[in-house]
């Protein structure tokens, strides 16, 4: 296939290169131009847009909805995504993910991330194995302790599992700004590969301490609730995008919300969730094109505040 370099591609490429120079760990993938970030622990590149499954993939045994969600996942992979995040807490989401991966024969394309969510600190391996069977993957890329539930026991087991090659990375999660002191303490003292937290244009508390600490300690950051569970759309969808949105690489609100997040230098990946193929396409738009720089990010935050 012949590749013609258009002016748009050229400008987008130059912008991405400029950003790469400004933000360490941010690389433009030459094959697809997808924006990737390195996982600090290994240098492995990860596309900055991942996918969440809370509510969206909990469809039980509904074959029609399983087929539809499979199309959402297919769109995600086709547009360059890899990291999918789930949890045993999300009802049938682990099961549905397993079925969708089988239908797409996409196990080699997924960066499989789920969580340990049990108060029984001796049940880490058992729960990981139950989830692994549901996903039908050889092993998980990432296991995270969900909301720090039973973290002491789970973390020790996860360390052993990682040492034995049963999982590649380990991490902890929180959301809605909960337990940030505990998260900070663990980030400062434990050998974590990943931390997952809530960050979006309205919930910016993590900019103060957790994101700088993640950079300092070389911990990859996964951002959950990038749309505040969808409420950012309900609040701002009827408002116009600023005239300068194109300058920061945004064609729609989804890109505006997501690019604000992934342009923070400490962020490795953001995991918006959706039930819809058209929304997935919009969200994956944020994986390409220029990202805002520091002053443009501030302008974005100010614009949203002014609405």
């Amino acid at each position: 296939m012949r590749f013609r370099l258009s002016r748009r591609h050229f400008l987008a490429g130059m912008a991405a290169m400029g950003l790469t120079l400004r933000v360490p760990g941010l690389l433009a993938d030459t094959s697809s131009n997808a924006i990737t970030r390195e996982i600090p622990a290994t240098g492995e590149p990860l596309p900055v847009i991942g996918m969440g499954t809370w509510r969206t993939f909990n469809v039980g045994g509904d074959q029609q909805l399983i087929a539809q969600r499979t199309q959402v996942l297919k769109t995600f992979f086709d547009l360059g995504g890899t990291l999918v995040d789930s949890s045993p807490m999300y009802g049938s989401a682990d099961d549905v993910m397993g079925q969708a991966l089988s239908a797409l024969e996409a196990r080699d394309r997924v960066f499989a991330a789920t969580k340990i969510w049990t108060g029984d600190e001796n049940a880490t391996r058992e729960q990981a194995e139950v989830s692994r069977r549901k996903w039908q993957v050889a092993r998980f890329d990432l296991l995270q302790i969900h909301n720090l539930l039973g973290w002491e026991g789970h973390l020790e087991t996860l360390k052993s599992m990682k040492a034995e090659g049963e999982v590649r990375y380990l991490g902890i999660t929180t959301s809605h700004g909960r337990r940030h002191r505990d998260i900070e303490r663990l980030m400062a003292t434990e050998p974590l590969d990943f931390v997952q937290l809530t960050y979006n244009l309205l919930d910016r508390e993590v900019e103060e301490r957790l994101l700088p600490l993640a950079r300092e300690r070389g911990i990859a950051v996964i951002v959950n609730r990038p749309f505040q569970g969808g409420s950012l759309f309900r609040r701002f969808d009827s408002e116009p995008l600023p005239a300068w949105a194109g300058e920061v690489g945004c064609k729609n609100w989804a890109e505006f919300f997501l690019k604000y997040i992934v342009s923070h230098p400490a962020v490795t990946c953001v995991i918006p969730a959706t039930t819809r193929v058209d929304h997935m396409r919009e969200n994956m738009g944020a994986l390409y094109g220029p990202l805002p720089d520091t002053s443009q990010r501030e302008r974005m935050a100010q614009y949203v505040r002014s609405l």
Partner: protein, 219 residues
């Protein structure tokens, strides 16, 4: 854990579309069972008008079967996989169904059946509830296949049961109203969080009627 930072929505694991489709899926998958349950509902209305002991026993036995079916079918197979607490309720429904079945067999009534006019009133109320309320799910979903029928779906099974339980003595009745009360609270909170105000009518009506059902005399 700081529970004050949690809202009900944080515990809701699924969206309205998945929930409403449970009704049409169960009706389709169990076809022609929905027809059988409608016929059984009408039969129960007729039995409720009769005063004989065998009729009262038959009502309780059919009611027991309705609880088992709704627990084992809708709750354990369809609703439980997307909402884990429902699995526990599903087993509770099966246990309650068995208890009602046993009551039907071993129960020796100390008092006579309610008088004729009261029996007819109970049967009429029963018929209205089992015929009209299934359409609430249709109103909410816009799909006529989503009828929320007695003996299949829990909200209507619970609400309709209140009328038949009036046949039983007060103490036994109070015991058998415990699970309906718990389910109605759980269901009301779920439907409230899903924003399904039309469907809220059933658990709220159950909660409003339970005090009357407990205090009501047998005749």
């Amino acid at each position: 854990m700081d529970w004050s930072s949690y809202s009900l929505a944080d515990f809701l694991m699924f969206g309205p579309e998945v929930f409403l489709r449970l009704y049409s899926r169960v009706n389709r998958d169990f076809w022609p069972w929905p027809v059988v349950t409608v016929l059984a509902s009408v039969l129960m209305a007729w039995l409720l008008t009769l005063g004989e002991l065998w009729a009262r026993r038959a009502v309780l036995a059919l009611l027991g079967m309705a609880w088992v079916c709704s627990g084992a079918g809708f709750m354990l197979r369809y609703y439980g996989p997307i909402n884990s607490p429902v699995e526990y309720f599903g087993w509770g429904f099966i246990a309650q169904g068995i208890a009602l079945g046993l009551t039907a067999v071993v129960w020796r009534p100390e008092s006579a059946s309610p008088d004729t006019s009261r029996r007819r009133l109970i049967a009429l109320a029963w018929l209205l509830v089992v015929c009209l309320l299934p359409w609430l799910v249709v109103m909410e979903s816009g799909e006529w296949q989503a009828l929320g029928l007695f003996a299949i779906t829990p909200d209507l099974t619970v609400l309709a049961s209140l009328f038949s339980l009036l046949l039983l003595p007060r103490r036994l009745r109070a015991l058998l109203l415990l699970l309906p009360a718990l389910w109605a609270v759980f269901s009301a909170l779920t439907l409230w969080t899903l924003g399904m105000t039309v469907l809220l009518i059933m658990p709220l009506a159950t909660l409003a009627l339970i005090p009357f059902a407990i205090s009501s005399r047998q005749r």
